[in-house]
Amino acid sequence: MSAETIINVAKFAWDIIKDGKPAAEIDNSTANAVPQVEDWLSLTDTRGPNVYRNNYYVSYVWPFDDYVHAEFDILLKWQFGSRYKNGGAFIPNLWIEVPNCFVGYGWDAHIGITVQHPTNIGQPGAPVAALPVTIKGTVSSPLETYHVEWGYVVTGTGGISGG
């Protein structure tokens, strides 16, 4: 057990959009990147959440460009900056919200999130969590399939890379 070893004690994967609708499990699913200690719930100074909007949009072309074929927003949210023994920067919660989801008749969408094992990108005595996150899936009809993927690494300092 060490505060410099960072682990995810929550979930590693869950559905975001299933059968063209927001999945029920997004309401109670989170991932995290916290110190491997028994009292990790005692983290302090938590900030955020940071919020990134991932928008997917398809309409028809002129002269039907006022008809939307599919559109959804996936919000990636994470709290950050949490300290253990007044130091380090951990991620106590990372979660997804879908405030907007429309998929045209005859089409379907399946999107999910996968979280990899967190790592420590900080320095000795000042651990910083890094959590790789992949959001991916398909928007499809019986004849066509579009693949969608966003990949990020979010950090305990609030940073994010990828897209």
């Binding site: 955020g48 990134y52 398809v58 023994k85 380090g88 000042a126």
Partner: protein, 95 residues
Amino acid sequence: MANIPEGALRSDDGHYWWDGENWQPVDENAAAGDGDERVAARLANGYPASGDDLTEEQKRALLGEPTIVVEPLAHDEVEVVAMEDSGHGDGEAMA
């Protein structure tokens, strides 16, 4: 009214029209309110007046390319300090 002469060639995305020499941008504000122009274009190209009446084959032919946008709605960052009792210099800013 949109700023497009009757019968002018339109780009596939509908945002430009051909004046015979160059592509000109469509006056989007005018075009957005000109439902009659859209309906006329649909009928002129052999489509139904309403998108609700498109066949599956027509929908496939008219489907646009997906656009994917990522934008931050809230973003902040913090500096990192060492943990107490870490033996690595308490409170020292790391970033």
